[in-house]
Symmetry: C3
Subunit: 209 residues, 3 copies
Amino acid sequence: MNSLFIYIIDILGVISFAISGVLTARSKRMDVFGIYIIAFVTATGGGTLRDILIGNTPVGWMNNLTYVYLITGSVIFSLMFHKRLSYLRTSLFLFDTIGIGLYTMIGIQKGIEIGLHPVICVFIGTMTATFGGVIRDILCNEIPVIFRKEIYATACIVGGGAYFAFIQFPINQKIALLISGIIVITIRLFAVKFKLSIPSLYRESEPTE
Amino acid sequence: MNSLFIYIIDILGVISFAISGVLTARSKRMDVFGIYIIAFVTATGGGTLRDILIGNTPVGWMNNLTYVYLITGSVIFSLMFHKRLSYLRTSLFLFDTIGIGLYTMIGIQKGIEIGLHPVICVFIGTMTATFGGVIRDILCNEIPVIFRKEIYATACIVGGGAYFAFIQFPINQKIALLISGIIVITIRLFAVKFKLSIPSLYRESEPTE
Amino acid sequence: MNSLFIYIIDILGVISFAISGVLTARSKRMDVFGIYIIAFVTATGGGTLRDILIGNTPVGWMNNLTYVYLITGSVIFSLMFHKRLSYLRTSLFLFDTIGIGLYTMIGIQKGIEIGLHPVICVFIGTMTATFGGVIRDILCNEIPVIFRKEIYATACIVGGGAYFAFIQFPINQKIALLISGIIVITIRLFAVKFKLSIPSLYRESEPTE
């Protein structure tokens, strides 16, 4: 993949994740500091957890101020134009979706670099894409939404698996990454457009908790 | 301890922890992905936190696919035979109990290897045995059950202390580990059988929260 | 700063943080083990998270039993004299406040040592001072109190920024640290005394959650 292309998607992904953090934190009536932390954690949490688990420290955002600036800007923007964010809903959803495609592939690359098994690399890719949202929900005292009902992590897992299937063949590695990222994005878009979800394990009558 | 013996107990322990994760996640009506993550975290969380804190990265399960396979198998089994799991309750409790005995001793060994003080080693052993369950409960939005009422961590602490008492004497180190592990298991079994718990700090009339 | 002075403040800070953990854990009716863990995490959590993120492992408290002894003593003291702790409220608040001033500066120093950018150093300092309380609240199943309403982290951020402003001038580094720490403490004291808080983002009529 072209590195400028990756750079732009990374930026759009961070912005989308940060804004989703702001929206969740506002719904919990947090103050500005709390909102900032939640935005930061949502945008960087998946990559940070990955870096901690593989021993890549200091973790990524500590050596690259771009993330701090982007998140700070996103928080200020979201707080100033809070009422108009709904106009951006479709764009934000799109950036977020492209972002998880990218982050899955970035995570997989990091796993490959340190020689981990493909199955573990898919774990790491999925974690990179989804655990920012998991940590956001824990800090907001909610059961993580992706554990409950959405085809979100599933898209990352399928796309990650596809990558390792592709590279069995004599195919350019960058093209394999690109196609696999597009698979993640496509599954997620279809799932949302057609309201697909994993078949429920529970009968309607089964009591909760 | 015989390494085949350790291996078998480790496998049984992972399976028991994973199934306990499935049961907790189901009670929160999570989807298949959420159930899998909770099972994974319950089975590996204690050792993962230990590895992060002592700097043993990439963390253990990343270099050993056995855990992934065992947890995947346990999740599939638990979902297929959900209604019949209650027949296995006694076996699962026994595996879990033997598991915490083993994990306490594994954690202590890791601490000794990097030259930590015995008190810190007992901390690490107890963390290895119990923090999978703590992380499971946090992800499920519950106050960790072991903070509330059970003689569980206490058994690990007593057994861990016993190990460092034993090795003051001219005793074979493996035998010391074995006896200490059995102490953990025995305390836990007695506590459950006779419904023992640490004396409550609270009067009945004292209000909660 | 004089190292004996730092040592004494560190001790008083750990004690105050540990006691605040005991009080929170008691309010959740935890047993002795749960109370101990919450006290430990409140006192060490910020520094531990910092050490994990920058790769300083084994984390600090593993190589220094002083923390274990202080926390153990604080827990025993708090449980024995629970009813009289309210007499100590002012002292505890003062120690806690001096503690966050100190911990902010310790965290900043650690960041500087490994060559991180000032902005990231301020992040790390603030995290060192505040994340023990955040982890305490998560383990107690609460939305972290510092995300909600207090001028607490803000004081750390302002003091941390002041430090990097001071060292632009030909000023002794230790004096810069001391003054910046005092700024953190002063802001926090004023905020509590005059009930200052960050202006709310929310109208009274806006619904929660």
